[in-house]
Amino acid sequence: MTGAESTPEVEPLQYGSAGAPESGSALREPPGELDRGETGGPAMRRAARRRAVGIGGARGDGPFRFAATAAGAVLLAIMAAIGAFLVVKAVPALRANTTNFLTELTWQPNATEPVFGIGALAFGTVLSSFLALVIATPVAVGVALFISHYAPRRLASALGYVVDLLAAVPSVVYGLWGIAFLVPFMLEPSRFLNRYLGWIPLFGGDQVVGRSMLTAALVLAIMILPIIAAISREVFLQVPKAQEEAALALGATRWEMIRMSVLPFGRPGVISAAMLGLGRAMGETIAVALIFPATFTVTFQVLGPNGNSIAANIANGFGEATETGRGALIASGLVLFLITLLVNMGARLVIARRKEYARAAA
């Protein structure tokens, strides 16, 4: 096709500032577009011009544009509504609460004198997610490097797909696998850690069980590994080839090249990928609900029979909750929503600020 080859030389038609939609980055700002408002945009003016020339059929443009804009607005409205309705249903329960919601450790909202607080649950959520992050991030970065720089080109995308399959396994299946396989399996390694590394407070304690914080963190780590690996991989693939080749040309080994050019370039991306993983680990419900022993103690001894999280508590406590109980669970869900919102917004701001990561958002 000769036509396709010659198109780049043809100047695109110019209707004032109203070019065809930009196919490039969404972050670009057309000059003067911002303060003109949404209604009198370029498409409308072009439509008006057409009608003046006598070509009909532009009548549907207004409604179509409106529908598209409205759909976007619906998304924003849903985000706002999530916050609003959780607050609405949480407030009565918080009023009925007889202690401080933020510091209380126990959770008895179904009693006649409701006593409940987020303390132990929030602690468990944060501790298990951070443990999962510490376990998952190094492995995920290794997987990403393997796929982007070590695996044979031909196999790379297939191997990436295999890692993505980890994310396709439903969380309830991980939970089932966790209680049937991982809990008994973890008993021996846990005893080993306790015996030889017991002087570290994290692995200390007198009692060692399979259904521990560590086992749950391990399942969480498996579940967040694919997202961290996928985003890191995209970021590593976008390292400028010239930098890599320059390092190699100066005599660097492959690892030195990665350390000098790939890792510095990818660091912000890896950090935000880890934060997205953290957000996901915090919100993960069913897998940990099956594994956690659902206690309300605050301890750093991750091998003992302790552990709970906000999400797991919602799943376990919903069945027998009274009205105040439901309100209390919704209040805890609101806290979870706010925490994950902050973590995710932080991560997205890091990604969005760098244009070269634009395609890496998974």
């Binding site: 059929g57 249903k89 393997f146 209680i179």
Partner: protein, 301 residues
């Protein structure tokens, strides 16, 4: 690369020292090890699900519900859960796909990178991180507690659609951006208005890519348990009406059976997990096949 130590010609190129070479090797081994380490749980999960799931994965399991099955009885099946999952996921898609697709069209065709478009784009990203249990709680608070609707499959579909929307928007947006600008310009040059260009030229070009994205989004929500737990509730009977009364879903079925203390229930949980994984993997496979069949992404980039 390296000159042998016996070389008489002095090139100034020194061989890579042993220390550096060893370090390079060690890192290579570590990175390969990380990849293998990541595959171990996948293999273990799949193997256990297939091994344990096959024990009860028979015709009775696929065609019977849990009605009148006592706490200690063997038998029973997941028919009611399969029906529930299919209906809930279908309803969720019916809600999420149009909204998601239109939002993507707004972002690509009408947004022009303005303030509203950037805000929507940012919150779509943030929305992908909304925990599934929170979307369930939202529907519980809004639909069931405030509006006074009953627990139903439709309430579950609402919760699932919230999880689905951002995924649909992101994948559709990416596909729409890959449609060559020349196609749009050719259409404009023929005097076709913008909306007809979008409907008749842009969408058909990007169709396969969008379909892939939708299938992946469906596969993602089909395995969600937490939102169903809070909105669909439990039932052991077949309920074909997603708008009325508690339903069941496959993930919920697995969770329910896994929490029961008998071996028969655990076996049913494994078979349920196998069915669920088969459905999810099938959806994934269909998505990849659609993408492989005719992908604008492949030609575009």
């Amino acid at each position: 690369m390296t000159t042998p130590s016996t070389a008489t010609v002095r090139t100034g190129i020194r061989p890579i020292s042993v220390g550096r070479r060893v370090k390079d090797r060690v890192v290579q081994v570590l990175i390969c090890l990380a990849f293998v380490l990541a595959l171990i749980p996948l293999a273990s999960v799949l193997w256990m699900v297939v091994k344990n799931g096959m024990q009860r994965f028979d015709l009775e399991f696929l065609t019977h519900s849990m009605r009148n099955i006592g706490a200690r009885d063997v038998g029973g099946g997941a028919y009611h859960a399969i029906i529930g999952t299919l209906q809930q996921v279908l309803l969720a898609s019916l809600i999420a796909v149009p909204i998601g697709l239109l939002t993507a069209i707004y972002l690509v065709e009408y947004g022009n990178g303005g303030r509203l478009a950037r805000t929507i784009g940012f919150f779509v990203d943030v929305m992908t991180g909304v925990p599934s249990v929170v979307s369930g709680l939202f529907v519980l608070a809004f639909w069931i507690l405030v509006l006074g609707m009953p627990f139903s499959g439709f309430a579950g579909a609402l919760a699932l659609s919230i999880l689905m929307m951002p995924v649909v928007v992101r994948s559709a947006e990416e596909m729409l951006r890959l449609v060559p600008r020349e196609l749009r310009e050719a259409s404009y040059a023929l005097g076709v208005p913008k909306w007809r260009t979008v409907v008749k030229v842009v969408l058909p070009t990007a169709f396969t890519g969008i379909a892939t994205g939708v299938m992946l989004a469906v596969a993602r929500v089909a395995g969600e348990t937490a939102p169903l737990l809070l909105t669909v509730f439990f039932t052991d009977s077949i309920n074909n009406d997603p708008f009325n009364g508690p339903q069941m879903g496959l993930p919920l079925y697995v969770f329910d059976q896994a929490g029961r203390p008998t071996d028969a229930a655990i076996d049913r949980a494994w078979s349920g997990a196998l069915t669920l994984i088969l459905i999810v993997m099938l959806l994934n496979l269909v998505a990849r096949l659609i993408g492989w069949w005719r992908s604008p992404a492949r030609k575009g980039s």
